[in-house]
């Protein structure tokens, strides 16, 4: 027997029944609300006719082609735009540096619908509803990925290595192409893979920003399933997309392994202030341009909520609760009702996610191999897309005895499924870092194993769980993909209402849509700031 640690007394183990009791809730939720819908979706897709029909249809390949090329262009553009700010942020010390990083992160966590709305507000009418608007939104959205992932490696690359290349006669440009970029390559690949995944599965941005004919696979799945009633075709497309995702993830994991070399990463090279005048103005220009690009869409959002064809007016805000657009004519979208729906949904989704996530974390930390299975299982929902989750639930729960489509809790459960992985990731690390000897100390004082666990391990959970709750609330408030399938008329959440309002003509409706998007952006930023503060203190 070759063990790193001595064998702990088996009599001190947590009772198996307790671990099973912890795991049963999350495992059941996973099986009923994710695995079974996914199996239903698979069954719909393998129906031979659907596969043949879908693959033979010209639109299918047009959609796949569009999805792929816009994702590639978005990814390349994001990397190209992100490199300069990544370098400046990693290497230089300047005023507002932290604020800039915080700003880019805030933009990254904004709901997709808000991002779509912001670019709709920003761009002139001639440009919005075009593919270029979509790509611009994708670039700004994902800048934080490049800046954080590439910057993290960049700030550890010894500047002396670049100086060494210069002493060997390399020009400024050759230093970058011969030394810096090759060393950054694993980080660049990783960032590119993530941006590609996000843009390939783009849904909310496209639904809000693009013309109705512009469709990614996700949008086409939604259209076929809910607008055309072609469930089989939608299922085939879902699987097609999942296949691409698996291939991309596998490829990026392999290239990263192959290219990862033992980089002699120093502890963070000290950032320095810009020295020469040219350097100073370059840093200032890149820093402020990045800040401008990140803030402009949000500013435009707020500004447009006050603008009407006849001038500035706060009528969109004051009339937020009025659904009557002309005397006697009502519209089925009530912004205030959407707000209350969203808050109620977010509260329930947070409750579900926190309870199930906490139970799962405790079970995963206490159980050995079976725990890892539960861990991987509960991560699956973020591996597939929100659209797939919503679609699966839509077709799995529309027949007796599981006709739950009308149940108020179906949308919160869908949101919880997406939020649980985040709750688990914030809590499991803390649970795993609890010294087992702390529990042993409790048992030497007479606590039985269950009591020792309850008194020593469980209390460690509260703080990370508060962080998890804020994350879950933010996720639920902005969730659009799954909600598109599951929300019923009268139960619209904010993102659904935003998409509807911005899809209508009429300046008041548009302004109301921008007002709702402003509220959602503010709520998300507040929640994420709370998360950041609490995590910084621990």
């Amino acid at each position: 027997m070759d063990e790193r640690r001595p064998r702990l007394n088996p009599a001190n183990r947590l009772p198996r029944r307790l671990v099973a009791l912890l795991a049963v809730g999350p495992a059941t939720a996973l099986a009923v609300f994710f695995l079974w819908p996914f199996a239903t979706l698979l069954a719909e897709a393998v129906d031979g006719r659907a596969v043949g029909d879908t693959l033979r249809r010209g639109t299918t390949w047009r959609v796949v082609w569009f999805t792929a090329w816009q994702a590639v262009v978005s990814t390349v553009a994001t990397i190209a735009v992100g490199l300069a700010p990544a370098h400046v942020i990693a290497r230089y010390r300047f005023r507002g540096r932290r604020l800039l990083v915080g700003l880019l992160t805030a933009v990254f966590v904004l709901p997709t619908v808000v991002m779509g709305a912001a670019f709709l507000a920003l761009l002139p009418t001639s440009l919005d509803r075009t593919v270029w608007a979509v790509i611009a939104a994708h670039v700004v959205f994902n800048l934080a990925v490049v800046i954080r992932m590439v910057g993290a490696v960049w700030e550890h690359l010894p500047p002396d290595m670049e100086a060494a290349a210069a002493t060997l006669g390399a020009s400024r440009r050759r230093v970058v192409t011969e030394v810096s970029l090759p060393l950054l390559r694993p980080a660049l690949t990783a960032a590119a893979a993530i941006v590609f995944l996000f843009t390939f599965t783009s849904f909310g941005v496209i639904r809000v920003l693009a013309a109705p004919g512009t469709r990614t696979i996700e949008v086409e799945v939604w259209r076929r399933a809910t607008q055309l009633g072609d469930v089989g075709g939608a299922a085939v497309l879902s699987l097609l997309q999942l296949t691409v995702l698996v291939v991309v993830v596998g490829w990026s994991a392999r290239t990263q392994r192959r290219h990862s070399r033992a980089l002699d990463l120093r502890p963070e090279a000290p950032r320095r202030a810009a020295r020469t005048r040219a350097e100073r103005s370059t840093v200032a220009a890149i820093g402020s341009a990045t800040a401008l690009v990140a803030t402009m869409p949000l500013v435009a959002l707020a500004v447009r909520s006050f603008s009407t064809p006849t001038g500035w007016s706060s009528s969109a805000w004051t009339n937020l609760g009025r659904t009557e657009i002309r005397p006697g004519i009502r519209l089925g979208i009530d912004p205030v009702a959407a707000l209350t729906n969203s808050v109620r949904t977010a509260l329930w989704a947070t409750l579900f996610a926190v309870v199930l996530g906490a139970l799962a974390s405790l079970a995963i930390a206490a159980a050995g191999r079976a725990g890892r299975l539960l861990d991987v299982g509960l991560m699956l929902p973020i591996g597939t897309s929100a659209v797939t989750i919503g679609f699966g639930m839509l077709i799995a729960f529309d027949t007796a005895p599981f006709d739950w489509r009308a149940s108020w809790w179906l949308v919160p459960v869908g949101h919880a499924l997406i939020a649980i992985p985040f709750v688990i990731r914030t809590t499991i690390g803390v649970l795993r870092s609890v010294d087992p000897m702390l529990g042993a100390a409790a048992t030497t004082l007479g606590a039985n194993p269950t009591r020792a666990w309850w008194e020593v391990v469980v209390p460690m959970l509260w703080r990370p769980l508060a962080v998890g709750a804020a994350l879950a609330a933010a996720i639920s408030l902005g969730e659009f993909g799954a909600t598109s399938f599951l929300s019923r008329s009268g139960g619209e959440t904010i993102p659904i209402a935003i998409e509807r309002l911005l899809g209508r003509t009429g300046s008041l409706l548009q302004a109301q849509g921008y007002a709702l998007a402003t509220i959602l952006a503010a709520a998300t930023i507040v929640l994420v700031t709370i998360v950041d503060r609490v995590q910084e203190r621990t």
Partner: protein, 214 residues
């Protein structure tokens, strides 16, 4: 206040034999110092006795009864850990009262007893302090009070005085000795300091030197 017998304890991990067929007997109320170079398995032996680590061979008996199969909480063996292992989310008083709470003693009674123990280790009035704000010496005394408050049959102390400054070390050496005598506890004290061993213990056993622990 029990007789402790360790017989033939062997622990192997990571391919290394940490404890090889160790026998130790401690009489009722006796204080034994366990000396030995680092890596000789002193801490591991204490953990085997407390029932935290399961030995690959050998038995631990209290008053002639084999307790090897019992979980830690049923052995009645208290332990002061080298790094104290105070519960960071509880106040100093709640740390000291923890064992009494586990024994089902009511809140008022256990708080009074815990305050009493704090006074005995020279920390009168420290009850409401967060343990994370205690100094090294204070934390050590809280750990000692926490273990002794449950009046365990056997007390195990894992280098209780290591890492303290000279003056505190000398003062606590006397205090620990007095407290253990007053409690009449059967105790094993792990140390690598011969003077400390001589000052506190009735007898010294050296681990890792062949023949001596037999």
């Amino acid at each position: 206040m029990s007789r402790l017998d360790v017989a033939g304890v062997t622990v192997v991990f990571d391919g290394t034999t940490v404890l090889d067929d160790v026998d130790i007997s401690v009489a009722d109320g006796e204080v034994v110092a366990l000396l030995g170079p680092s890596g000789s398995g002193k801490s591991t032996l204490l953990r085997v006795i407390a029932g935290i680590i399961a030995p690959d061979a050998g038995t631990v008996s209290l008053d002639g009864v084999d307790v090897s199969a019992l979980p830690t909480h049923r052995r009645g063996i208290g332990m002061v850990f080298q790094d104290n292992q105070l519960f960071p989310h509880r106040s100093t008083l709640d740390n000291v009262a923890f064992g009494l709470k586990m024994a089902g003693v009511g809140r008022r009674e256990r708080d009074a007893a815990a305050a009493d123990w704090l006074a005995r280790v020279g920390l009168d009035g420290f009850g409401s302090r967060p343990v994370t704000e205690l100094s090294g010496g204070e934390a050590k005394r809280v750990a000692l009070a926490r273990t002794l408050a449950t009046r365990p049959a056997v007390v195990l102390l894992d280098e209780p005085l290591t890492g303290l400054d000279r003056e505190l070390h000398d003062r606590l050496t006397v205090e620990v000795s007095d407290i253990l005598r007053a409690a009449g506890a059967t105790a094993i004290l792990v140390t690598h300091d011969r003077d400390e061993a001589a000052a506190i213990a009735d007898r010294t056993v050296t681990l890792g030197a062949p023949g001596t622990h037999r």
